[in-house]
Amino acid sequence: MHSPLLLDFTTFYELFFKAFDTLGFEASAHWMSYTAAGISLSFIAINLLILSTALYTWFERRTIARFQVRRGPNRNGPYGLLQPFADVIKLIMKEDTIPESADKVVFTLAPIVLLAPTLLIITVIPMDDSTFLGTLNIGILFIVGITSVNSIAIFMAGWGSRNKYAILGSMRGAAMLVSYEIPMALGITSVLLLSGSLAMKTIADSQLIWFILVMPLGFFVFMAAAMAEMSRTPFDQIESESELGSGYNTEFSGIKFAILFLAEFMAPIVTSAVVTTLFLGGNQGFSPIPGPIWFILKMFVVIFILLWIRSTWPRLRIDQIMGFAWKPLFGLGIINIFLIALESQILMEEGKLSQNDMLIMSGINWVLTIVGLLVMFNIYGHKRYNRPDPIPSQLANMGTDLQ
């Protein structure tokens, strides 16, 4: 079935091929239509993503404003919808400064290197029955590989700008992003064990019951790691406004800053798309509403939860963040993989899991997850804050006179 949006490489290729063929380019129609389809699809994909990022920044600012008893942007256009465009125009018109002692090549390249992987991820997201690249059969592996470029980009930004705040931020970022890739990969691995495929579309389709219900622990591990990968609160050590001024992007201005922020605000969109595919059943839903709409609705729910967390929680310290990745999260990820492997080994018949099997798994896993998380909170967390009455110091004590 062709997607209603026609955002599919094969469809585009056939369209162009037909066009070139009728125009009389029989000999070169193949490579010409191949190139034309690629360019036009990239153009559409990039612009769609940039537009949705613009809308997302509006959504984020409005939502967080509501959390903070404010109104948020409401001056430009209806409900302030044109605010992101006004911001972008302002940023483009600003002077693009490069610090004198900066490493100019690295400094200029950093925003591009940061933006590119985020843009590339969207090519393998199956919003509908197909993706932008048709079906890439190693979709999730591609995502894991391409996201690890982020840490290099952030380090480039910090190193290139030769600013102490920036270098501190990017050092933190490099350490944190590398660490959190491991729990993220563990979360993804457990999905792969159930779906038996690396292709994003197959993963989405294999969810007879959404994987968030089948393995809540895996979802928790993946979500925590993904939040750290985007460096959102409580893991926003890369910028940590109250500590480092602005972190790795301190020296950036003008269009470079705009691109950095584009990449940063694109990350939640892309991540929520990946979460939707891996854990929320992709475009599954009931019939009058088409698949892509379901996909976008689920993305919105994930984004809203991210914003909710962002607007309520304080930030962890860098050593606590590293400890959280390597101790509880890594352990939970391993436990989750072990559980899923064991269960699917027992339940799987001819390499397939039926809906009943998944129901059984989800029942076992929910109980184990709740127990596991309670144990974890008791080991790593602070017990509820009940302390005995404080004992007044004997030094300079006003004692009984003070009643």
Partner: protein
């Protein structure tokens, strides 16, 4: 074992930095993320308040005190007018004393709300708790507006009383605020006091022991968080505090969390004090017959009150003229910064900001 050579880096934190609460500057030496050395640099907001006071008459100086601790100008006014009264032997009518206590306690709540909000902001909570605290602070500022028309730089108190009597609507609004505030404290405590991340970031961080606190003449909530039960409202009672019942909350060990918690508990006590004042206050004059040009006899006086940030004292010398010969302010924010190096050294970058936030400084008062 051969490792890569590392070297400490020195960062100038401030004077333009989002979390130094103004124009405070810290020259910090980091070993990686850990702080090995720290040197505070003051003076970016120095306006010569003490010297300026020598050129103005006693009534005009009130406006100067507003601009010292600009989030608690009521308390500054009170400390100053009490010194002048002691210098010139001016008596204060009872109703004025009650209104002064109400104002001082309202100002304490406003100041502590701001301290709590900014501490949470420093912890990285993206301004949400800050905005909640500001919403409540606004109500107190509205009350001040009813009293004297100003919201921040109030200049409400005068030697011998207060500027004008509180209007009728003030008492209604005060009652509403006093009833509402405890619910807000419950809300903010349920959101913050047991938050896992807040506990992880603040408990056991930046401990100031009772010996250190006393040796560095720390005062106010920071001292009480270090288990020292010391409050000028009890130990050196002034105005009508001896007729009011309230507790002095203290902390457990003097960490960042205790400093936060003591402020919350103090705000609860302040609400109780205000409620008692509203009950006890009687009609009467609000200002004794004091001239605009006060000429105190030659001599000196020191009066201190328990301000929101600690012992706020004014030392004034008179030579019999209309202006003081010398004016010296004991600024709690400034003196509370004394143990900064001991508290912060050894902690990490993120803790530095949190500890500094928990001390609750106002640069207007530090630099004067």
């Amino acid at each position: 074992m051969n490792t890569l050579r590392t070297e400490p880096i020195t960062i100038n934190l401030g004077p333009q930095h989002p979390s130094t609460h103004g124009v405070f500057r810290l020259r910090v030496t980091f070993d990686g993320e850990e702080i090995v050395d720290l040197e505070p640099v003051f003076g970016y907001l120095h306006r010569g308040t003490e010297k300026l006071a020598e050129t103005r008459n006693y009534t005009q100086i009130i406006t100067l005190t507003d601009r010292m601790d600009y989030v608690a100008s009521m308390s500054n006014n009170l400390a100053y007018v009490r010194t002048v009264e002691s210098l010139a032997n001016i008596s204060v009518p009872e109703r004025a004393q009650y209104i002064r206590v109400i104002c001082a306690e309202l100002q304490r709540i406003a100041s502590h709300l701001m301290a709590t909000g900014f501490l949470l902001n420093d912890l990285g909570a993206l301004a949400t708790p800050l905005v909640y605290c500001f919403r409540e602070r606004e109500k107190i500022l509205d009350l001040f507006e009813m009293l004297c028309g100003a919201r921040i730089t109030l200049s409400y108190m005068r030697p011998g009383g207060v500027f004008q009597d509180a209007p009728e609507e003030f008492w209604h609004a005060l009652n509403t605020t006093v009833t509402d505030l405890p619910h807000f404290f419950d809300e903010i405590e349920s959101l913050i006091s047991t938050n896992e991340i807040v506990l992880a970031r603040t408990r056991g961080v930046g401990i100031l022991t009772d010996e250190q606190a006393i040796a560095n003449s720390v005062s106010g909530p920071n001292l009480r968080a270090a288990r020292v039960k010391w409050d000028l409202r009890k130990s050196n009672t002034y105005e009508v505090y001896d007729r009011l019942k309230f507790d002095i909350p203290i902390g457990h060990e003097g960490d960042t969390y205790d400093r936060y918690l003591v402020r919350i508990l103090e705000m609860r006590e302040s609400v109780k004090i205000i409620a008692q004042c509203v009950e006890q206050i009687d009609t009467g004059p609000i200002r004794s017959n004091t001239p605009f040009f006060i000429r105190p006899p030659a001599g000196e006086a020191y009066e201190a009150i328990e301000g929101p940030k600690g012992e706020l004292g004014f030392y004034m010398v008179s030579d019999g003229g209309v202006a003081p010969y010398r004016c010296k302010v004991r600024a709690p924010s400034f003196l509370n910064l004394t143990p900064l190096k001991e508290m912060i050294t050894g902690w990490k970058m993120g803790d530095l900001i949190t500890i500094l936030g928990s001390i609750d400084i106002v640069l207007g008062e530090v630099d004067r």
